[in-house]
Subunit: 375 residues, 2 copies
Amino acid sequence: MTITDVARRAGVSRQTVSNVLNSPELVREETRDRVREAIEALGYRASQAARQMRTGRSRLIATRIEPDRDGINGSVLDRFLHGLTASAARAGYRILLYAAGDERSEIDTFDDLVGSHEPDAFVLTSTYHGDGRPAWLRERRLPFVTFGRPWGNAGNAGGASGGEAAGDPEHPWVDVDGAAGTAAATRHLLDAGHRRIGFLGWPPGSGVGDDRRSGWTRALAGAGIDPAGLDQATDDGVADGEKAARDLLRAEQPITALVCASDSLALGALHAVRSLTASGQLTASGRLTAEGRLTVAGQAGGEEGLPVRVIGFDDTPVAKAVGLSSVSQPLAEAAAGCVGLLTRLFDPPSPDDPEAGGPRTHVLLQPSLVLRQSS
Amino acid sequence: MTITDVARRAGVSRQTVSNVLNSPELVREETRDRVREAIEALGYRASQAARQMRTGRSRLIATRIEPDRDGINGSVLDRFLHGLTASAARAGYRILLYAAGDERSEIDTFDDLVGSHEPDAFVLTSTYHGDGRPAWLRERRLPFVTFGRPWGNAGNAGGASGGEAAGDPEHPWVDVDGAAGTAAATRHLLDAGHRRIGFLGWPPGSGVGDDRRSGWTRALAGAGIDPAGLDQATDDGVADGEKAARDLLRAEQPITALVCASDSLALGALHAVRSLTASGQLTASGRLTAEGRLTVAGQAGGEEGLPVRVIGFDDTPVAKAVGLSSVSQPLAEAAAGCVGLLTRLFDPPSPDDPEAGGPRTHVLLQPSLVLRQSS
């Protein structure tokens, strides 16, 4: 029995029911009577109403919008925000947006918001090693969920995929299994006969980056391949990716395929393949000419002339536009998962509820591989 | 004299000053005293405070986030939202996001928000002919600004660029001069020697689309060129753009350059040029072979072999990734302009203020042309 049922029976909005319970003077007498009749007829208990009012104080969920930086990878959180707004609306919540430059200013903003708009909960994005935000909120008993798992305090904790990296098991989070995504990409390339499959990622110490690298390592290990010399770490950007990919393409033992931690890096890698091809250092078949060094080694079935394959991560609009294969995150599902966990925090199932043993405080979603011309 | 001056003098946030005035029990005594001393020292008048409190009630600005559709063009409003959140924060406001499918549900949401979170103002995006939202808000004396000028009630009003298309001169809006953008793109192509410059746009009746088409028509007229047969109208999408561009490239008198109303259409046009080239119907030099029909006519200086040039609109990340020239909207400036107009509504300059005759209720910003390989 919820406020929605009362609203439906009385033929009014949820807000009107809420007003009748909280600020009856705002509601016309006739409407007030109709709502009170519905409350009585449905046996909607005052204590339940009180809890609804207590937990549903502002009906606002606060989340940060990050500065507009890389238009390619930044689109992921934008798409998450679209999904979050839609999912929140279905649950009767609005999204309160704030901007914040760093952790200190984000926590100052929490403080300010708690004293002003009183959001019912926070959705934190982009978790990182040593993330101080969850503890701050937890100490003040402010409900939150993170999109991104807790990565623990140590940098370079490495491949904690699927587990609780560190900290509070009660920390509610939704994440996408990045390692599963890069492992699937790597296996796809192994199945196509590639052995020298490189990885283009970020410097060690980033939770998300280390997780994505670990999927590639794991898939290579499954095929008995030593990953040594097959990866490069660089800042995230198209020019950075191009530079690092050139190194891998011109190495003593060049790669024939490449899995990347982002579409920005993958786009840079495509540029590297194209410019090496255009300057005659890489033939269209994907092997360096006599002047260069690339050969396709260890292929199954003796198939020759594979081009250099590239797979990105995040399936951004740019990937679609340039024909880049990429690992796709289920962002609408992630957003719905965040709202679902919050709803459960606001309104926990009773112990004798059959769903009480159901969804926990963690949701790890599986990504999917979208194949296009680049692979 | 504003609440900001009081806050600065007392060394506290605006919110704290607001709390002292509205809910003093929330503020520690020592801080309360400091704020009251600042109010007294500065001669901040109670009547002014009352107005500030009345107009600055929630410090929330409500805006819609549109459904996640085309990842290419949708990025424009996402970037606007980033800018809006940052500009609002600098003025002491937060953004309240809502989702709405159509005008009816958006107006229902206005109604709901006014009764619940009481936003101080609304920022409306994507204005259109017959837009019923401004009138609804105006009737209820709810402050708003639109990103997009009012296009009037008649469909296909055509080319009201820069003027007040219709309605209330008090309607505050910020927009980007789309016609100036397409005119600059067209003039750039004229300067390069092109005469048969096509336009790929949307069906007549869209304010934004008609405006963008009018800039192309105007620039051609300035060069004495008849636009007949040089344009196509289609839905906005990559596949739609490809199909329409093929028609223009294979016409009796084919185009040699193309200005597009969006990057989605322009990306489709690039695909059309590439696939006609790959199938041998269009040579790399941009002319159709004997089998086809494209010739470069009327070039200045007798230069031959120009490729088919393409220019998009909105300078999305996809344009950058594929080397597409495009018209760029100053989105951060547009967002700041919206917040500026709202601030002025909340706190109008007094008649003897030197700025009183300054910025009006309309801001029309100039776009810029970003040139890349495609042109």
